[in-house]
Each structure stands twice: as C-alpha cells, then as structure tokens.
Symmetry: none
Subunit: 194 residues, 4 copies
DNA sequence: AATGAATGAGCCTTCATTCAT
DNA sequence: GATGAATGAAGGCTCATTCAT
C-alpha cells in the first residue's frame, strides 16, 4: 500500500477548491474528477455520492480547524489569554488555510445546513472559555452563548470584509484591535479603568 | 399596497421563499412558476434568466432592508441613539421579514457573490454613524470600517444562532445586551464609568 | 387540441418495438426518443420514469388483447364454440399484432413480473369458459385453473414455435389442429366416439 | 461431486441464481463476484465477457436438464411410457432444480434469444417419441413438431402457474392429470374407449 | 401577453472491462 | 493466478430556455 489514502485526499482537496469557487450544486462531478486527475467513476469508489463527498469535505475541514485551534490554546491558562489566542487562532487559520476556513463558515450556512447541526465545536469551546473567565472574575456576567455568538460574529465578519479589501488596516492591527475590542466588551467593570 | 400590480412581484416573492428554502441552484423555474401561479414561460417575459431573477430578488430585498433601516433612524440625532436604533433595526427586520433578511445575509455570500459588490449600503451607513460619533467624542478612535464590520458581525451572528435556538435569552434581552456590548466596545474611555 | 394523445401513443408504440427487440433494460431512453421522433426530455412529460413507461406499454397491450378477445367471443354461446373462438382469437391477435402479443407473453415473465400480478384476465376468462362447459356437461371434470393453464400453454407455445418456423404446417391447419386437440383433451368421455 | 474443482463452477452457480433473480442485464459483475466469493477481475480469467458467462450458464443448465431427462427415460420402451416419463421428468426437474429449469424456459426467450437457436434437444427428443408412437400405432397421426410444441407448452405453462400458486391441486395430481390429458389428446381414436 | 409542450445539453451515477501489483 | 482500484462510455433523468399557439 504505497499511497493508501492519497486518492481520497486528492479528491477532497479538489472538491474543496471547486465547492468554494462555484458552490456545491454548482460544481460537477466531472469538474472534481478532472481537477483531482482521476476519472469520474473513481469518485464513487471513495464516496457513495457527491453529497457524501461534500459532507466529508466539511467534516474534514472542521476537524482540521478544530485541531488548529486547540494547538493555539495549548499554552494558555489565563482566560484572557485564552480568548486572545482563540481570536488570533481563527485569524491565523483563515490566513493560512483560507479555503478551508471559508468553506466552514459559508458553505454550511446554505447548502449543507442540515449536515452541520451540533458540530460547531469551536463555538462551544468559546463558550467554555467565557464561562471560565466569568467564574474567575475576569469577565462580566452575561449569557455565555450569547457572548460567544457575538465574538464569533465579530471575528468572522471582520475576516470576510478584510479578505474583500474593505478594511484598510494592517493584518496585525486588525487582530489586536479585534481582541482588545472583545475584552473591552466583556471585561468586568472594575477592570475598565486599568 | 396589499397586492402588487404585476406578476413581477409575485415572481420575486415566490422566488425569495424558494431560494431561501432550497438555494438558488436548488430551486427550479418550475417550482417558482408554480408557486407564483403562472406558467414557466412567463418568467422570461419579466426576467431574462433565472440568474437575473435571483439578482433582482437580492436587490429588491436589500432595498426594502435599506428603507426599513432609514425609517428606524429617522428620529435619532445622538450617535449613540443612532447606533442603538441601527442595531435594533436589524433585529426587527430579521424578525418581521426573516426570509428577506436571511436571503440578504446568507445567499449572497455563496451563490450571488459577484452580484453584491459594493451594494451593502447598510454597512456604509453604519460606518458613517461611527465616524459621526467619533467626531463628536462619543466613540473612541478606531478605523470605522473595521468597527462597522465587527458590529455587523456581532448582530448577524447573534441573529443566526438565535434563530437556531442556540441562545437561551429573551428577544428583548438579546437586543439590549447586544446594544450595550456594542457601546461598551466603542465608547470613549471616560464614559466607561457612567 | 389537434393531437392530444398522439405523442403519448407514439412513445408507447416506439417503446413497444424496442422493448421487444432488445428487452426493457436493453432499450435506452435515447433509443425510444429517437424512434418516436421526440427528444429524451419529452418522455418524462408523459411518464415519470422508463419503468412506468414499460408498465404502461404492458397494460396498454394487455387491454387491447383483452378487447380483441372479447370481440371474438361476442357471438358464441356454446362452450365449445367459445373455447374454439378463444383459441382462434389468440392466434389471430398474435398474427395481426405480433409485437403486442409477444410483449404480453414474454416480457412480463422476466422484467415485469412484479407488475403483472393478477392482471391476466384472459386466463380467468378461459377458466370461466371451462367451468361453464363442465356445468353443461360438455367438458369432463377437471380443475379449471389447471385445464386453463394447459390450454394457454398449448396455444402460446405453438405460436412461439410457429413464429420461429419450427412447425411446417399451414396457419389454418395449426389453428384447427390445436382446437381439436384441445377439445379431445377436455371433452367428456361419451363424446369421444362421435 | 460435492464441491467443484474450480472457481468456474462457483461462478456459474452464482450467476445462475442472480440471473434468475434479477435478469441478466439486471445482474452486475460485482454481484456475481461477491456471491461467488472471488474478485471481479477473476471472472475474466474464466469467461471473456458477461455475455459469454450467461451463455455458458444457459448451456450448462440445458445440458444438465438434458442428462436428467435421458436418465428418466432410460428404462422405458413403450412410447406411452416414454411420453409419461418425459412429462414427469420435466416436472421433477422443475421441482428439484427450479432455478435451472426456470432459467432455461424464461431467460432464453428474451435476453438470450440469439444464443438458444437449435439447442432445444428436449423438444427434438419429444418429437422423436411422438414419431415412434405414431409408427407403432399408439398415437394418432399429427405433425410431430406441432404436437411436441403443444405438449411442451402444456407442461411448462402448468409448471409456471403452479409455481405461482395459481393451481390448487396437489403436485402428484397435476402430473397425473397433465400426462393423461396429453395421452387423451394424441392417442389413436380406437384407444379412446379403453 | 401568457402558455406549457418540447428541447437538448448536461448532470449524477453505474458498471463491464482492464491492468498494475 | 488473483486482485480490486481505476476507467470511461453510457444510462436515466433534470431543467433552464424557447416558441408555436
């Protein structure tokens, strides 16, 4: 078995690029096969349908995103650091693996909606960080899921506009500003003056 | 204007519902014609193609969204009030016209990307409010487009999760919390203690 | 409505010819469309699938066969005459509409088996004739369904071999011989010497 | 010979079962390989194509049928006994090896028509019996091929309906009745009263 | 203007066959 | 000899678009 999982990965990679470029419905199996350098029929040796392929692409990317985030958070203990690392992690992932990032945050909102239920581990991770910070007095009391949604939205929307050239600020400054804004939003009152 | 004059509006409404339910590619012209109560061929008397119809649906909704927001902001002068009205306006529009809202904020990100360039007036409106607030000393200095992106993301992501039942907070509390978090994020330092 | 059912009939006729020539599975929708002088898509305006088309072809032929047989039996009262008319009717139908006949008696045995359950009215008609003849003393006592099966088999197998040139006897003689053999087989004993 | 030496027989047996269940066209080489416990490619080491396999299946079954019939007729001399043994032989073969029987008498009529020309030895055997019986005065004069066709039809059709539960008569009675009916049909007149 | 039957390009999927291992 | 991944030619079916009525 020289390259046991290679063809499958070629397929997933080719599909990712095309799904992002033209949507899932807009991508044909022929497109995918051509880009992966295989024949159409071979797709069905690895996946039972185009739909399953799309689902696997999504899961594959989510998994990679998830592992990336966990690595970013490895050496943080302080809830504030954790939050900053989380935010920075998303920005970094989006920069290094933009297609993966983009697929996770756009495809699943329309064509794969039914497949992504309950799979957004990152959002749950964020809520956990917030709860921890609240318990330790770093963050003010607010519903953690609500706060998580807001923070996630801040980050992803900023990335979206940044990618489209609509935010005339350097990459590093954007990350710093987003992280600070975030803390400003959720820090406990008494810390505001510090 | 209870019922539109022409079939054109029937078409746009029928298309909106279906585009949201099944995506643009996933919706057939037959579906649209059936729901609009006309025949397939008639679609092409009003629009040159399905693609143009989709574009017109998007513009139509964006226009309605835009008018709705302007109405919400009519009697505000204070930048903080304007910002709160803006935020509340989006929430209200999303509640009252969820399909329109949803189409604007999700469909265009994938299937209509090329059609929505530079048409997001609301985001420009938000940036203007921020600039105004900064000039009058209400808001701390930050790049207005960046702040606008963050605020827009906070709001839209919150609405998305709320619709999916992932935020266990009452509608009114969510709006209040989002607005306050927003102010907390962008207010000048000296106001923090107030 | 100049020719309201014409296309549908063209389709059924084209399909019949091809199904007989190459089997149902062996016939492509493209073949059918070409022969019917229409485009492939048009098939699906009249039938929801190739399978449904095949079923309708079968039912259509069975219905025509059934009507043909009833007409042949119209002016018979005597059970023996009825039986002879029945046998002659099958031969005649096979000669005049051989493709229809052939489809009824061969296709349904393999590819359409599940569709023809309980639809073989002719066999039930034959059993009824036999029962009547037994009640009136013309035919000897035997299980009518068994006798019907035997007679049907005699006739259809003979037609099959005749079509293939394996029976060197004139058409009229074959019919006469089959009918007489049949009577000989089922007549009551006392009639044997006549 | 409990287990065949080679995979070839495994293949033929697997193919037979599947061809009967789903037709030749309806059976895939993968199905066959799976059921035979070999890999797809191996089929082509034994047969040059699926079509050849099907043909060999047919010939194999016909050969077994033929040998079975000859064995049944071994100890008969009297033409009437031979005929009865012949009829009984078909019923027995159909009962003991129904799939083989069924394949011979149904598959070849549609999907294998071109392959079965002139191979129906049993029918020729039957004609020979009839000629012999006529020469010895047992059977009345009739064209032997025609008589053979009728008898074969009687038997096969009866078996077909019996298998489908449409003939409410015991197996033994059916055989007896068919044999007697047959004799009644072809015996010379003078024997009718006996 | 409106209709809806017809079109035909193209889609996803299947499967007999091949061939490197 | 056997394997099973890969092939690629169809196959059944869909659907945006056209056009005679």
């Amino acid at each position: 078995m020289p390259r046991p999982i290679s063809k499958r990965d070629d397929l997933i990679n080719a599909a990712l690029v095309l799904f992002m470029k033209k949507g899932i419905k807009g991508t044909t199996t022929r497109d995918i096969a051509n880009r992966a350098g295989i024949s159409e029929g071979t797709i069905y040796r690895h996946f039972s349908s185009k739909e399953e392929l799309a689902q696997k692409v999504f899961e594959d990317n989510l998994e990679k995103f998830w592992r990336f985030l966990r690595r970013e958070l490895r050496n943080t203990r302080n809830p504030e650091d954790m939050l900053c690392a989380f935010i920075k992690g998303i920005f970094e992932f989006a920069r290094k693996h933009h297609r993966r990032y983009s697929f996770i945050f756009s495809a699943h909102q329309t064509e794969l909606r039914r497949l992504s239920r309950g799979k957004m581990k990152p959002k749950r991770m964020l809520a956990r960080i917030l709860r921890l910070g609240q318990a330790q007095g770093y963050f003010r009391p607010m519903q953690p899921d609500l706060a998580a949604a807001m923070i996630l939205g801040m980050v992803t929307q900023t990335i979206f506009y940044m990618r489209n050239g609509l935010i005339p600020v350097s990459y590093e400054d954007v990350i710093r500003e987003v992280a600070q804004s975030c803390l400003r939003m959720i820090r406990t009152e008494t810390l505001a003056g510090s």
